[in-house]
């Protein structure tokens, strides 16, 4: 195990106030440490010195919860492909490196403190259609609805989205299209999602627009940054589904809520 001496440029900000970069020396960091463990060590020392520790989001530290964020050297979740910040290890950096640590920047993700941002815009998008309406009661029999293996696999790929927001953070326009397309596409490609397909697509896209995310310009930085490797082909599908749903709404009508006989 070797030790790294690093120079951090960390974004410090209190909610509603302008932020700034703080230079922090991170000395003798074990290269076995994860990026978050490095931040823990830095915070311990800040606290010992009577300073204000850096606030950052984290939870499972296993790469599956979607809680950790951080834009590291300009790349959401850092330089390691298909890896969340918590699974990024310090051995990917070299002794003497300067590392920029910033929050996931987007107007729709307001900074709570330092590197923590409020990502509840994603929850509101989900509430606008990212679900299927089902009857409560006993669980249905397995295979009562037949789903092709390829369809199930594709839906599973989309369902791998952990809603971390790296797509928004890495997008040049802070667009949420990759997230929305994965969440809508997962259900829109399954038979269970068909009855509400148009309503879901229109509802989620409208909520996305309302939250103040930018517009997709097909540069695919989102796909490159996504820790779950969600494909931009889901965005293609969302574009298609949205066009069809809009046409249906304009000329036939799409019910906003399920009504009798719908």
């Amino acid at each position: 195990m070797s030790l790294l001496n690093l120079q951090l440029k960390v974004w410090r900000q209190n909610q509603g106030q302008p932020g700034h970069f703080q230079d922090i020396q991170a000395l003798e960091i074990p290269d076995h440490a994860s990026f978050l463990e490095m931040m823990d060590i830095v915070n311990e020392r800040l606290i010992q010195d009577g300073g204000d520790p850096v606030a950052f989001d984290h939870d499972c530290r296993e790469g599956i919860c979607g809680m950790c964020s951080m834009t590291i050297n300009g790349i959401a979740h850092g330089p390691e492909k298909a890896t969340t910040t918590c699974q990024l290890h310090m051995r990917k950096f070299r002794d003497g490196d300067t590392i920029w640590v910033e929050p996931f920047r987007a107007k729709a993700f307001p900074v709570v403190k330092d590197l923590m941002v409020n990502r509840s815009a994603f929850d509101r998008i989900q509430q606008a259609g990212g679900f299927v309406t089902v009857r409560t009661g006993a669980a249905p029999d397995a295979n009562s609805i037949l789903v092709g293996k390829e369809v199930a696999d594709a839906a599973m790929d989309a369902a791998a989205c952990i809603g971390c927001g790296a797509c928004v953070a890495s997008c040049k326009n802070a667009s949420a299209m990759l997230f929305v397309s994965a969440k809508a596409g997962q259900l829109n490609s399954l038979p269970q999602g068909q009855p509400e397909k148009n309503r879901r697509t229109l509802g989620m896209v409208r909520q996305m627009d309302k939250e103040g995310f930018g517009n997709c310009t097909n540069q695919y930085e989102c796909e490159a940054a996504c820790p779950k490797e969600i494909s931009v082909r889901w965005i293609t599908k969302l574009n298609r589904d949205y066009a069809l749903a809009s046409a249906k709404e304009a000329f036939v009508g799409v019910k906003e809520h399920a009504e009798g006989g719908d």
Partner: protein, 237 residues
């Protein structure tokens, strides 16, 4: 009826709806750019070919054809420009604090400069129309100087206008610069429009990307060949 208009208005005001309009108008302009280039290359066939072609365009549908095309193109350019400026403003507003360290992993330079290449092309279109269509500040509209005898009919001498137009270095150079930016714009726009219209697949996306680059190169070489041939190699002079 108003319900339909409400829906169309909502469509235009949504991010994806506006982008679909940009893609559709972009597709129309892309086809125009190709046709325009093929027509222009007739200058290398000779005065008769390009003058006859010019006369055909001017007199198609008793002179109405050219106006239908002009109004259609004006609408396409208008929608394309207004929608992209609105989208770009929203994109800028979507990130208030810029990153201290900016990094790009996969996006092309062309894709990140679309608004600037696009606005320069818009300025070029205005110049181009004043130059060869409205003919401001030049003698290209003077019938005594720019007439051509085509099988007994007196028609506009497009050939001489093009040769004279590109014999002036600043104009020729500006055309080449504009074509470089157009080529950059097309290299991202071509494959992008298939994505926005929901037509790309895992199999076709790499093909659309290659076709887009080939198309951009074709337009660049084809259109630049004319001013370069005239100014540098003295074609027609």
């Amino acid at each position: 009826m108003s319900a339909v208009f409400d829906s169309l208005s909502r469509f235009y005001h949504s991010s994806i709806g506006k982008k679909i309009l940009v893609a559709l108008t972009g597709a129309a302009l892309l086809i125009f750019v190709l046709g325009h280039m093929i027509g222009n290359l007739l200058v290398f066939v000779g005065p008769e070919a390009i003058n006859e072609y010019g006369h055909m365009l001017q007199t198609a549908l008793h002179g109405g054809g050219v106006w239908i095309a002009r109004l259609g193109l004006l609408a396409a350019v208008g929608i394309h420009v207004v929608a992209t400026i609105q989208l770009t403003k929203q994109n800028r507003a979507a990130r208030v604090d810029a990153y201290g360290k900016v990094a790009s992993q996969v996006s092309s330079k062309s894709s990140r400069t679309m608004i600037w290449s696009g606005l320069t092309i818009l300025a070029f279109i205005v110049y181009h129309l004043l130059h060869f269509t409205v003919r401001v500040g030049n003698e290209y509209g003077n019938k005594a100087l720019y007439s051509y005898d085509l099988h007994g009919h007196t028609v506009h001498n497009v050939y001489k206008m093009v040769i004279d137009g590109f014999s002036w270095a600043p104009a020729a150079i500006f055309y080449v610069i504009a074509m470089l930016l157009l080529s950059s714009h097309l290299s991202h726009g071509f494959s992008s429009l298939f994505q926005t219209l929901g037509l790309s697949t895992h199999r076709t996306e790499p093909l659309f990307k290659k076709l887009g680059h080939a198309f951009a190169l074709l337009i660049l070489v084809g259109n630049c060949s004319i001013p370069i041939a005239i100014l540098v190699f003295g074609y027609g002079r």
